[in-house]
Amino acid sequence: MLKDITLGQFFPGDTLVHRLDPRTKLILMVVYITALFMAKGFPAYTFMLAVLITCLAVSRIKPKAIFRGLKPIFIIICITVILNIFFIRGETVLFQYRAIVITQEGLITAVFMASRLMMLIISTFLLTYTTSPITLTDGLERMLSPLKKIKLPVHEFAMMMSIALRMIPTLIEETDKIMSAQKSRGADFETGGLLKRAKAVLPLLIPLFISAFRRADELATAMESRCYHGGEGRTKMKILRFASRDFVALLFGACIVAAVVLLN
């Protein structure tokens, strides 16, 4: 079912990683990804992997959830591997058949690229699985708030983002429901050619759009009746504050970069 999509899903918990300030996690993710692109060679990669696994273990994310999240990008990883294997020409030829040449260098690059890609994606899971969307946008808003000085509508962007994030599961649920209802009347979304399937989607889209507009309208009314008038002078119920663990975590981030530089 559509519901099983986990990309960007939050798993509530109470671990050190869950408790970190969202800004810390955002910064750490950027730091980690930068380090990942700086890393060269086997030792550095192993180190990065070890860091990732440690973080995953601390945050108690189940391996199952990670694999499910990786599924949608599996094809991209495969393509990367294949391209690298066949199109990188190195010195040591391992296998040759007519125009097909596989070299050791190609193989190694393929492995490195695939693992880098996977580690990159998994590190973003670490953020989205342990941070609720609301906290995340809150963190983003705070981090970008200096940009308000140059008249960028940071608050509005953050609000739009949190509403969008909030609506995704609702819309998926709604789609599921409408699909079930149309299936009950014999609609068939699974078989047939492209044209037939495209046609089958129409009974889905119309009610879905209508309900999305209705929801948007209701939400706007609800916000207005609670006197929402933009970010001006708006205070927070939960004010984000860096705790000592956040400083430790940031220090840990700096250490990662240093270690990678050394290992290179």
């Binding site: 009347r185 014999g186 609609a187 699974e190 009610p207 209508i210």
Partner: protein
């Protein structure tokens, strides 16, 4: 042979995630042809999940569902065909309308069945007739109808497939009393004409008391009671423990019984209660001993023009009237 049968049916949502939840657990249920079954249970007890198995929309996590002796998941094609035989009307079906005219929307099901044009037309008109939507509605846009009319158009969309089993998930939720009564009548007339089996999910006990001949009570995904309305409603204490309340009439009868009136045990509609009270009144001359108490009761029961009027229209679900008169004491 039972028309519908489930065998150790269990369903778990989001298996393998922190949100894993057993919605339906080990249900063995059968429905015979022509039965009118009411399905009740508190919010989240698994009613909607359960009924979505009966036309193959949900696949059991474990267990099987049989229709007329065959496993409905035997093949994809079979599951698809079952959906025309087991018509399922979802909660708030009006949000699923999509065609540009009411006619086309009702015709969606029959079209998917691959019926010829004139048969489709006939079925659409018949279905619209059942739900009381006249010719004038046929060329209107479904989005221009009132809430109740939309609901009826959506129900017609399922009825037009002429299912042998009609399952409705809270078809009267959110409608005014008259609209509710109408929908229930529509269902009855479809059932009477086609001899269909009907499963009705509802939170409205009065509604269920007056119509069904069997009640299935779900709690936390299990069937905890299955029997005639008289049987189920006689256990009002158990019902209230499960977050439900017996119909007003059976609560009043129970209260009157504790006050000493020898009312019969199987009272759960106002009609029946009134009849029984009148019978007792007839005998009251002889029963001097109970005279005093009886006077009070008879006085109370005679007061309302409400009751008489209700008898005429056949609409008895007006809880506000009872609440006003009895001040909630019937919940005691």
């Amino acid at each position: 042979m039972a028309l519908i049968r489930t065998e150790n049916l269990s369903h778990t949502y989001s298996t393998g995630t922190p949100f894993e939840r057993v919605a339906v657990h080990d249900i063995n249920f059968t429905a015979e042809k022509g039965e009118y079954v009411g399905i009740i249970g508190a919010t989240g007890s698994g009613k909607s999940t359960f009924i979505q198995h009966l036309n193959g929309l949900l696949k059991p996590t474990t267990g099987n569902v049989y229709y007329d002796g065959t496993d409905i998941h035997e093949s994809k094609k079979h599951t698809h065909d079952i959906r025309f035989k087991v018509g399922l009307v979802f909660q708030y079906p009006e949000y699923q309308l999509f065609e540009s005219t009411v006619f086309d929307d009702i015709a969606f099901g029959p079209k998917n069945m691959g019926l010829p044009e004139d048969e489709i037309r006939e079925r659409v008109y018949e279905a619209a007739g059942f739900v009381g939507l006249g010719e004038s509605f046929m060329e209107k846009s479904p989005f221009g109808l009132s809430g109740g009319e939309k609901r009826r158009a959506a129900i017609a969309g399922v009825i037009a497939m002429r299912p042998e089993v009609l399952i409705l998930d809270e078809p009267t939720a959110g409608l005014d009393p008259q609209g509710q009564a109408e929908i229930i009548r529509n269902i009855m007339s479809y059932k009477a004409t086609h001899g269909a089996t009907v499963l009705l999910v509802t939170h409205n006990m009065e509604e269920i008391a007056r119509n069904v001949n069997r009640i299935v009570l779900l709690n936390k995904g299990n069937i905890v009671m299955d029997g005639t309305p008289a049987h189920v409603f006689s256990e009002s204490e158990r019902l209230s423990k499960l977050g439900l309340a017996a119909p007003k009439a059976s609560l009043i009868a129970a209260k009157l019984r504790t006050l000493g009136l020898p009312l019969e045990q199987d009272i759960y509609t106002l009609k029946r209660l009134r009849k029984n009270l009148n019978e007792l009144k007839g005998e009251s001359g002889k029963l001097k001993a109970e005279n005093e108490q009886h006077e009070i009761m008879a006085g109370q029961m005679n007061r309302p023009p409400v009751l008489q009027q209700e008898d005429v229209t056949g609409q008895m679900n007006r809880p506000p009237v009872w609440d006003a008169n009895d001040g909630g004491e019937q919940h005691a």
